[in-house]
Amino acid sequence: MRSAWAFLAFSFVLCRPAVVRAESAGQSGGELHFCLRGEPKTFNPLLVEEDSSETIRYLTGGVLIRLNRQTQALEPGLAVSWKVSQEGRRITFRLRSGLRFSDGTPFTAEDVAYTMKALMDPQLHSPTGDSFRSGEGQVDVQIPSSDSVVVTFPAPVAGLERLFDQVAILSAHSPKKEMAVLGPFCVADYSPGSHVLLRRNPNYWKKDKEGKSLPYLDSVRLDIQRNRDIELLRFRRGEIHLINALDAEYFDRLQKETPSVAHDAGPGLDSEFMWFNQVPAAPFPEHKKNWFRATEFRKAVSMAINRADLCRIVFGGHAHPALGPVSPANRFWFNSSLPAPQYDSAGALQLLARAGFRLEAGTLRDSSGNRVEFTVITNAGNKSREQMLTMIQQDLSQIGIKVNLVTLDFPSLIERITRTYDYEACLGGLVNTDLDPNSQMNVWLSSAENHQWNPKQSKPATAWEADLDRLMRAQSSAITDKKRKADFDKVQQIVAEQQPFIYLVNKNAMSAISPAVVGSSPSVLDPHAFWNAEFLRLGADPALGAQK
């Protein structure tokens, strides 16, 4: 206990001058505070699979190529340049020279080779490595000279260079193993359940325009806080400087109090959508399966939903009607020729009439006289989804469809949509972090597990699903981005026409940043608020940017 007190006292002595410097100078230095929403499960950058570890990897990891979260363009990192060849199988990097890891170990081409071998080691089960696995065989890494590395994959990898944004280079020789890093910060202290303290990496290679070493900040303290209400309260008290992701309700609360701290970067990558269960073996009546398989029925339901109202009422205007599987935030891959969804109850009824449905005394019936009624499930406790469903209930009642709403705890919901298929329709969401369509292969291929409306098909059930399979495979093996884009545009077109997922809204990327933080520029891509962490600095606000 005594040593703990001594450590705390020592930490205070160490930290305090940093804060004081930030207060007085408004220049470099200071400690940025914000919260992780869970315990980091690993500090090994190759094993990252959850948000907290991803935050630490982003702030500490040095990568060969960095995706600029604002321009969405690739920028040189540890590699000065790169070249993709052999139809996307090979990538050649030219490395920066004279760099050192945080512990002083020199950075060499061997480190890149070591990282790539570790990444692709099947024994490690690296989630990051999985995105590089395009075919059977070994990855070959050659070091032709001290400043270049050639990585050859057994099969073409679509969007190869973009994937390196997730690969933090490890040291092959450092005794500190993965704790020796090339990013702007390095892990200095970790107290489970309490915080992770990151200190500035004294050997970080990047400099600002004036030649000054980056990062400006001395340290970043990440407090582990699961409760979002407490996180918001701490922000309002000035105890933390930023909240990376806010929902609409919290955003509005903050905006009312202090408009300058709430930032809405516009439509994000996340989408909310609804789908009908088309699994042939699903345990509900055959006539309902026939409705759900009918394109006209799905399109009519889509047309009868007032998305503008969903955005305005449920998300307080901080969302946009979704056009398809890709958000407009994904500038390159978004198909801008897709038509905007129209709210048209009369048009929906015409479509339904064409498919043999008829409206009788306010009730929609199919050609056999069955009343059109179905149950939509969603996860319990998600207020915005419950509200969306309640609004959809009223929208569809206008065309005579009765919708029942059932909320289930998450494990029960997953059980129903992935194993028993005992549900009629479901409302869910997709948290998208990857811009490349390859990350959606497990959704669009008819044989995929996440082909949610009818998963794990032995052969495509419909012609348009066969087209989706063909186009997704074509885009993943195409050499040029132009060809890939053309193929994926067609995928988006088919999805918009067939509506297997009825896309509802794209939520905006919202964050809160204290006025004390200088240099912030929130982006729609994650991390929204600290993507340019090395350029952030603390201003002159005396109380950690307290909201007065």
Partner: protein, 268 residues
Amino acid sequence: MSPLQKVAAIILCTIFVLMALAAILVPAPYARQFRDVPNAGPSAAHPLGTDALGRDSLSRLLYGTRVSLLLAPAAALLSTLIAAFLGSAAGFLGGWFERVILAVTDLSLALPWLFLLLTVRAMLPLDVPPMVSVIIAFLMMGLLGWQASVRVICAAARGVRDSDFLLLARSSGCKPARLLLRHVAPNLRPLFYAQFWISVPLFILTEANLSILGLGVMEPMPSWGNLLRGFEDFSALAANPWRLVPLILLVIAVMCFQLVLPSQEVTQ
């Protein structure tokens, strides 16, 4: 009847009349969404304002009162009857029967009911109409909410077991069943009433929690429970104090029920 009891009775009657005449009195159907005026304050069209989806709060309150004031007391009655039977019998008979009942009570108090309820919800078919789902939820609350009352009633029955009047009745040749029904139970009646009225608000709040788990009253049907869920947003509550009306009504109703009850002295 004291003047206070008369006032309480009048208030209760008024609430029940309003509840019964909800269909005539409400300004709009409880599920109808006036999407141009979400979160609106009180107005001539919407005397208690509107909720987040623009639904008339007065209509939802009156219909919600119907659901809660009929079903929460029904669940409370069921649980009190179970507790009264088990507790009085255990306390009166004593011995191994009492030990078994109390052991079962302790065991069921220790069970993670939340997970049991989640399992039950997962097993129920999805196409259950909202009203049936409401009845199932309250029935489950009634069947599962008796344990705490059993311990209290059992302790009181143990006290009555050794009383002089029971000794006299026993010596007069009264059978155990008659002793239990005619002598023990009437003496425990104030305790039954108390347990019943304690359970009513408890079940209303339990229903609110179950709604969050997908087991209570489902949208668009209102209940006091899901109206109280609006209190999750404290800042909105401070800005819109009229949203406190469901809570105020709950407090008034529970207080009035307890005032209208005959007191222990009067009953004895």
